[in-house]
Structures are given as C-alpha cells and as structure tokens.
C-alpha cells in the first residue's frame, strides 16, 4: 500500500474523512473508490424503524460491497470522465456528480464528462436509481476516487518538473510550481497512470474548504437541452431500427385472441412488419405516423384483462373490505376520518420507449432505465439468452417520476425484435402511456387521532392500497438485506412503507400500517411513493385537531414537532409567507411539513377558491382553485447544488398541486378513461403560482440527504389544508375534482387517436 496523502492520519475530523481507494492499472490515469467504513449506526432504540435505519441507510448499506468499482478517468485532452451508474431523468445528478469530482480534483466543472453507465451486473445493487438515494450513496465514493486522481496528478507533476511535492499546486485543471509554466492535467494523464493496481489512502477535503459543493450551479446539460442536442432514446440513430408501435387492448392487460387483417395491414404504406406479442400486436413502419395508421387499422379480437368490468367504486369497495380494523374507539375525543386517493398516472412527457436489436444470439438495448441490471436479467430470460449476451445502454430520460424503475418498453422491444429479426425503435403512444402504463395505486387512508385537552395521545394511520409493484430490483435488494434491517419478514412493500414513513410530531403512541390488495393493475412507485397520500391525510387531521383545540395550525405544528431542524423549516415558510395575514373570504393559507430521506421540508401556500378564480375558462382545461403563492423551505443536510435543489422543489410543488386539485385517472369498465394531457390534468401554466419562493436551508447535518422527491408530500398537503380552510370543509377525496369528469373520453377501439390534419389553422 502507498500512502500518498499529505496530512498525517489524525483522529476526529480527519479520521471521518479518511478513506481507502485505488489507482487502477491503465494507460491514462484511472482511479477508483473503495469504501471501507460502514455508515454510522448510532441511534436511539425506538419502536419506529425509521428512527434507526431509514430507507436510505438500507440502500447505502447495499451499495457498500461493490462501490470500489466506480472509476474516475483523466483523459489526455484535459477532460475528466465518469460513467455514473445511475439514470439521469431530469433530477440533475449528472451535474451534482460533476460538482463532487470538480471539488475534490480542483478542475473546472466544464472539464467534466459525466455519462450514464451501461447495465453492470457486477454492481449488484449499486445501479438502482430510486428513493432519492443517488447523492447519499455516491457522495463519498465519488469524492474518494476524485481525490486520489488529484494526488496522482500532483505527484506526476512534481516528478515531471523535478520539484518537491509540496511545491506543486493544482487549480483550475492546471498544475503549477514556482518558476515553471503550468502543466495541464491532460498532459499528465498518461504520466500519472499506474501500471499496476494500488490501494491508496486519501483524506477528503474538509467542508470548510468546499468551493464547488454547496454553490449554485447551472446544469451541465443545459446547453444540450436548449439546442435540441440532448439525445433521448428515440433520437438515437441505430441502423435499421425503424419506428414500432403496439396495438393495445381496450381494457387493462387484455390479451390478443386473434388478428383478422394482419396481411392487409402489412401491405399498408410504409409498414414492414406486423406481429403479435405478449401485450398486443406490434407494427413496424418507416415512420411513426404510419405505425399509428396501422395500429388504427388492425382488427383484433381481445380477451379480457386483469381489471375486467371494474370501475372506481368497485376498487373502493375492495379496499374497504381489505382495510385492517382500527381497534375499539377510545373514550377520549378523537378525529377519525377516511381519505380516498384515486389512481394517478406517473407518465412522463417522454412516453415508454426503447430501441432493441436482437439477432444472432445477442441483444442490444437502449432505454432510460433506473434498474438496468434487473432489466438486463429479465430481458435475457425473456429472449432465452445468457445475461452476458445482452448489452443494455442507459439513455438520458425525459422524466421518470417512478416510471423508469420499470422497463416495460424495453421488454416489448426485445420481444418484437427477436420475433421479426430486425432492429426496432419502439415507442408507446401517449394514449397507451396513460391507459396501459403504470399508475400510482388507488388508496384509502384512515386516520384516527386521539386527544385530551391540549395533548395528542395517539395517532394511528391505516393505509390500504391497491398493490404497488416493486418488482424492479428494490425488492431483491431488501431480501438480500433482510437479516440486517429491523423489520422482520414483512413483505417488500410493507418494508418499504415502514422504512419511508415517519411521525415527525410528538403525538403519543403513533403507528402506521399498510395493507395491499388487488394485483390486477399496472402499478409502480410514483415520485415520493406512499408519502404524498400519507402526509396529506395526516396534515389534514393535524389541522382538524388544531381547530378542535382552538390552536393555530402553524403554532400547533410548531409545538408538536420533535426536532429543531423540523421547526426551522416550518418557521421559515411561516415567516417568509406571512402566515396568518388577512386574506379575503374564499382565499386561505395552508401549511404542512414532511420529512424523509434524512431531509426536512415545509410548504406554505395561498389558495384562491373564489368564483372568479375557479370559474376561469380555458379550453380543454381544468382551471379550478388557483395557488397564488407558494413558499417552500428544504433542509437536505447539505445541498450539493442549491440551484438544482430549488428546481426539484419547484417540480415537487407542481406535482403536489396536481395531486391535490386536478390530476387523476378514472377507471370505468376495466380501463382508464384518460388518453391525453388534456384529459389527465397535470399542472399547467394556468395552475402555477405566480409567486413562488424557495428557501434552501444552510447546511445542517453536513451530509447530503435525498432531494428529488422530498417536496411532493408537503406541497400536496399544504394545498389540501388551504382548500379546507378556504372552503370550511375538509376535503377527503383526492384530487378534489375527481368527481367531475372534465373531458370527453376517447374511444378504446382503435386504441389510439389519429393525429389531426388541421395544424395550419392554429399557426400563431
């Protein structure tokens, strides 16, 4: 072992920042991180699993054994490259990762080339993007590899210049020594390389020395995004991978019985192939337009689906039957309410899509995948190929919100390509993405708060949900770690639920249970998973209890929160948002709190429910109550990129507004009615708050917590609370407009709408 570190080993601060890593044998400098310390496992014994190990501890523990395979490469052109074993889907992790490396290496951010790694089965669990875990898990190993690279560059420069190590400094990507012209790191890339793999001890920079981490930076892919050069899966030019779409059943997961006119459709202009697959009938053509024509022309006889005949009310009845008993009502006063959360779509703007080229005993796949290892294994199994014969490239994703944890399009593309023996560029139509794509499951949340005088004695929440499919790798990860986590042999989803949910208030005896039923739907975890519904229900009950006790909602929360960090974010929004200011009748404030991923968030909104706001008319739109102002405070321990964190909070707010007010799927007779963005009412410009303030709290813990999903729950809850206060009625069904169908449903046969031809009449 060599010890290239300058400062001597020390206890305390240095000890915490001292790590082992590698220099790998290579022709240009390649360093890797090895993590040899376990995360601290301190914590108080408590009946709440989240108090001593939350979901992010779990994921980081899982990441430990293989993290040394993360490598930083210094190239001869002076750039530094790193293949991130995660999916970038808009959350900004390529930028924050570049910042970590730039910080430790002292190279400018624009020298960094962060790409997305292909599926690497040897990484085991360390290639799952989820649970807002990326920065938590990679914060140390990436910096260790970068810090070793910096030391090697300094040593190489000292040797090259014939000066002492203490005389060289690396700044801005250039090594300098007194009396010498600077050496760019590109010139040192080969000289700093090692002919053998060595273990190296390194001390990371102290936080007081950070000049990149914690500063607001623009995204590294901003230029690519605004010039149209950012390349998504469907923008790739893979030879002969022609447009492909699937004619899908009229009901959820219906099956193909027979196709009456395959030959006729195959003869349509541009069409090259028509083939039946597990999920429908695939067509391949010269253009997607001709795929649409072909899909619409197909005459298919369909078998029943997995939710045949069911409508919203049937599922509500099922959930009611599955609800676990609340126990006997106590003798003390209670608030006891049941909330209904309808199905919601986690469809991104980029629909499910993938390119596949399967031939000659091998397969190559391109898709935005947050669990590429599981995708690779499942695709190999489906094709009957060894896992090593399947190459899976992770492309930039056009949003995820939970969608890209699954690989539905990649599996289909592989199946079609194998069946027809040609490469395919397979894309779901928007209508398919909405109707057959994965959903956030419908759920009931029953809450019972027991209180006496001005104390809450107990808080129980029984959450009953249509089953959430976690079959994307998280389940496997939990199984492998089951012995090391304190939740016994609970089901995957129950484990996830218990690990992600907290009770931030000092509310006496508190417990939460999850029960799931009905596996007939295509579900998945949607951004912030269980928390938006759980927190929305909880915060509405907190408001109700406060009102029974004649307490102010903010002061009541403030007095009940268990931590200073929690109170600080709540105080921030209350102060910045002028909590309690006088507002006209029909306009009200709402305030809510949520903690998760070792982070804290609070949101204050003002909601205008007056007729002039609700009655605004915009064609094919739900205007509804308007959030006129929103104030968000987030404490993520240490924000690597505060500007990126603000962006995530803004997105979380837009999600929360939609979840509370406008966006849901309506289930009728075994299918969802929504087939368009003018059916599924995600937040649009006319729903956004004209006044938005976001506060990133100064570093608290000094370690980054999760950020990408953090703000959804409190945003949804704050809007719901504001609605209750503005209208005088606590809402119990979400979104609040679910009872009104605000659009004319499109037909289910053919399954996708034809593109209009009148575009020239709308040029403006």
């Amino acid at each position: 072992m060599t010890d290239e570190d300058l400062p001597p080993p020390a206890a305390g601060g240095f000890g915490r920042r001292r790590f082992l890593g590698y220099v790998l044998a290579a022709t240009t400098l390649t360093t890797a991180a090895k993590l040899s310390i376990a995360p601290s496992a301190e914590g108080i014994v408590s009946p709440q699993p989240t108090d001593f190990l939350d979901l992010n501890d779990l994921m980081t523990v899982a990441a430990l054994p293989t993290s040394h395979l993360i490598t930083v490469n210094v190239n001869t052109d002076g750039t530094v490259s790193f293949a991130l074993p995660r999916a970038e889907v808009g959350q900004g992790i390529t930028t924050s990762t570049a910042m970590l490396i730039a910080e430790e290496m002292d190279v400018p951010l624009d020298r960094l080339r962060v790409t997305l790694a292909d599926a690497r089965p040897e990484l085991l669990f360390n290639q799952l993007t989820g649970g807002s875990n990326t920065t938590i898990a990679t914060f140390t190993p990436i910096r260790v590899a970068a810090a070793i690279a910096r030391l090697r560059l300094l040593a190489a420069a000292a040797a090259e210049l014939g000066v002492a190590r203490s005389d060289v400094t690396l700044r801005g990507g250039v090594v300098t020594a007194p009396g010498h012209t600077g050496l760019d790191i590109g010139e040192l890339a080969a000289k700093a390389a090692s002919s053998r793999t060595e273990e190296v001890r390194v001390t990371l920079k102290g936080r007081e020395d950070f000049t990149v981490i914690g500063t607001a930076r623009n995204r590294v892919d901003a230029l690519a995004a605004v010039t149209g050069r950012k390349t998504f899966a469907m923008d790739l030019q893979v030879p002969d991978a022609k447009p492909t779409m699937v004619c899908r059943p009229p009901t959820i997961n219906g099956t193909v019985r027979s196709v009456a006119n395959a030959a006729t459709v195959r003869a349509m202009p541009g069409v090259t192939d028509v083939v039946t697959i597990a999920t429908g009938v695939a067509v391949r053509a010269e253009t997607f337009g001709q795929c649409i024509d072909a899909v619409r022309a197909l005459q298919v006889s369909w078998g029943p689906g997995t939710a045949e005949g069911k409508s919203d009310d049937d599922v509500i009845a099922e959930l009611r039957r599955a609800e676990l008993p609340m126990g006997l009502p106590p003798l003390t006063p209670t608030v006891d309410t049941r909330f209904t959360f309808h199905f919601r779509s986690n469809s991104a703007l980029e629909t499910n899509c993938a390119i596949a080229d399967v031939s000659g005993g091998r397969a190559e796949i391109w898709s935005s995948l947050k669990s590429p290892i599981v995708a690779k294994q499942k695709i190999a199994a489906k094709l009957g190929l060894p896992v090593s014969a399947v190459t899976v490239h992770v492309t930039e994703g056009g949003g995820s919100f939970g969608r890209r944890l699954f690989f539905d399009a990649a599996l289909e593309a592989a199946e079609v390509s194998k069946k027809i023996g040609k490469p395919v560029k397979l894309m779901w139509h928007r209508a398919d993405d909405s109707r057959q794509g994965r959903t956030h499951p419908m759920a009931l949340s029953r809450v019972r708060a027991t209180y006496l005088g001005s104390s809450v004695l107990g808080f129980k929440q029984v959450h009953t949900s249509v089953a959430t499919d976690l079959g994307h790798g998280l389940g496997e990860m939990i199984t492998a770690l089951a012995a090391s986590i304190p939740v016994g042999d609970l089901a995957f989803s129950e484990t996830f639920f218990q690990l992600s949910q907290t009770m931030p208030y000092d509310f006496g005896v508190s417990n939460r249970v999850l029960n799931e039923t009905d596996k007939g739907f295509n579900t998945g975890s949607m951004r912030n998973v269980y928390s938006p519904d759980m927190t929305c229900a909880r915060e509405l009950v907190v408001d109700r209890v406060a009102s029974r006790m004649r307490k102010d909602p903010y002061q009541f929360r403030r007095g009940s929160l268990r931590s200073d960090r929690a109170r600080a974010v709540l105080d921030k929004v209350a102060e910045a948002g002028s909590w309690g200011r006088r507002l006209p009748a029909g306009v009200a404030q709402g305030i809510a709190f949520h903690d998760e991923y070792r982070s804290m968030s609070a949101v204050l909104v003002e909601l205008d429910c007056r007729p002039e706001a609700v009655g605004r008319t915009i064609r094919d739109a739900v205007t509804g109550p308007r959030v006129t102002k929103a104030v968000i405070a987030a404490d993520v321990g240490l924000a690597v990129n505060p500007r990126g964190l603000e962006a995530q909070m803004m997105g979380c707010l837009m999600d929360g507004i939609a979840l509370a007010l406008t966006s849901s799927l309506h289930l009728r007779d075994g299918h969802f009615l929504e087939a368009s963005w003018d059916n599924y009412f995600y937040t649009r410009q006319w729903n956004t708050p004209p006044d938005l303030q976001i506060f990133v709290m100064p570093p608290t813990t000094g370690d980054p917590g999760g950020a990408g999903e953090l703000g959804v729950a409190a945003s949804m809850a704050a809007v719901a609370c504001a609605y209750g206060r503005a209208t005088g009625t606590m809402p119990t069904t979400f979104p609040i407009n679910h009872g009104v169908l605000s659009f004319e449903p499109k037909p289910t046969v053919p399954p996708i709408p034809q593109s209009p031809t009148d575009g020239l009449q709308h040029v403006r």
Binding site: G90, G92, N218, D221, A222, L223, A224, A225, V226, T227, G228, T231, F232, M234, D235, Q237, P243, P269, G270, E286, T287, F288, G289, Q290, I292, A348, L349, E350, E396, G397, G398, G399, M427, R430, D620, A647, M650, G651, L653, M654, W677, D678, Y682, T683, R684, Q685, T688, P689, P690, L692, P753, S755, P756, T757, D758, G759, L760, H762, V763, R764
Partner: protein, 158 residues
C-alpha cells in the same frame, strides 16, 4: 411516392413520402431532425412546437402535403440562425435561468416562447401574466416558474 420539398432551417430539403404523413415524422423519422419531440401526436402537449414562416405551429398536426416549396420550417436546431448568432436570446435566457430539468419539453417551450414574444410585440405590447397563463406546453418536470422568468428576460433581449 410523391416528392415533397420545403425549406428547413435555411436549406431546401426534399422527401419521398405519402401526402398524409404528418410533418413531425418527416422531420424526425426521415430527415433525422430530432429537436421537435413527440409527447402526444394530437396537438395537445406542444413538445413538437416549431415555426412555420416565423410563427409557432405543431408539426404533429400538419400533413406534409400542406407545406409548400417556399415555406420555411424552423426547428429548435435552426433557431439561432434566425438571429445570426450561436444561440438565440431566448435560449440564452433558458440557460441563464437553468430552466431545463429532463429537457424533453424544452425545445417546444422555447419555440413557443419566441413566437409568443413576436406576437405580443406585433401587437405593440409586452408580455402579461395572462399571456404566460395561456401557454399550453406541458412540462411534466414542473419547470413552469422558471419558464415564466426566462420568457420575460429573453423577451427583453429580443
């Protein structure tokens, strides 16, 4: 197969394709111009927004036969050239405000914004909250607030 010709980002292009194929697919699938994105194919999401003779339009809703030989189609790729710079002021505003998250909607958002500013200027006024409220482009990442800020600052530089 009929031949269609039109001007695309300053060049005359020609394609052999059926009359009714929508322009979005001609651009993306046949000409390899992938800035305009697919988000719905029914003129709702506005991810494909481009310019026809300087005004916003949605190529997913226009059959290629409707585009004439002298019609000028501008996609995000051709936007900087319309001002003879490496970036249009609206693109610079987008970078300055760090608007994009996943970025999928952003070519369409920028093309919508530029056309909006031109239209408002032609009406002899400046951008209002109502104008911004009226933008239909979906951003599923929820970048709406930064879009509003960027349009105002981009408009000031146009």
């Amino acid at each position: 197969m009929p031949k269609h010709t039109f001007r695309l980002n300053g060049r005359q292009v020609a394609v052999d394709v059926a009359d009714d194929v929508r322009l979005l697919w001609v651009l993306r699938d046949l000409l390899g111009v992938t800035g305009p994105k697919y988000g719905c194919g029914i003129n709702v999401c506005k991810a494909c927004t481009s310019h026809l003779n300087g005004k916003a339009f949605n190529p997913c809703a226009v059959p290629v036969k409707d585009i004439g030989p002298t019609d000028e189609v501008t996609t995000i790729e051709g936007l900087p050239d319309t001002v003879g710079r490496s970036l249009h002021p609206m693109q610079e505003a987008w970078i300055e405000r760090d608007v994009a998250q996943c970025g999928y909607c952003q070519p369409g958002q920028i093309m919508t914004a530029v056309a909006l500013v031109r239209r408002v200027a032609a009406e002899g006024r400046s951008i209002t909250d109502e104008d911004l409220d009226g933008i239909r482009n979906i951003c599923r990442c929820g970048t709406y607030s930064r879009i509003r800020d960027a349009i105002r600052s981009g408009a000031a530089e146009m």
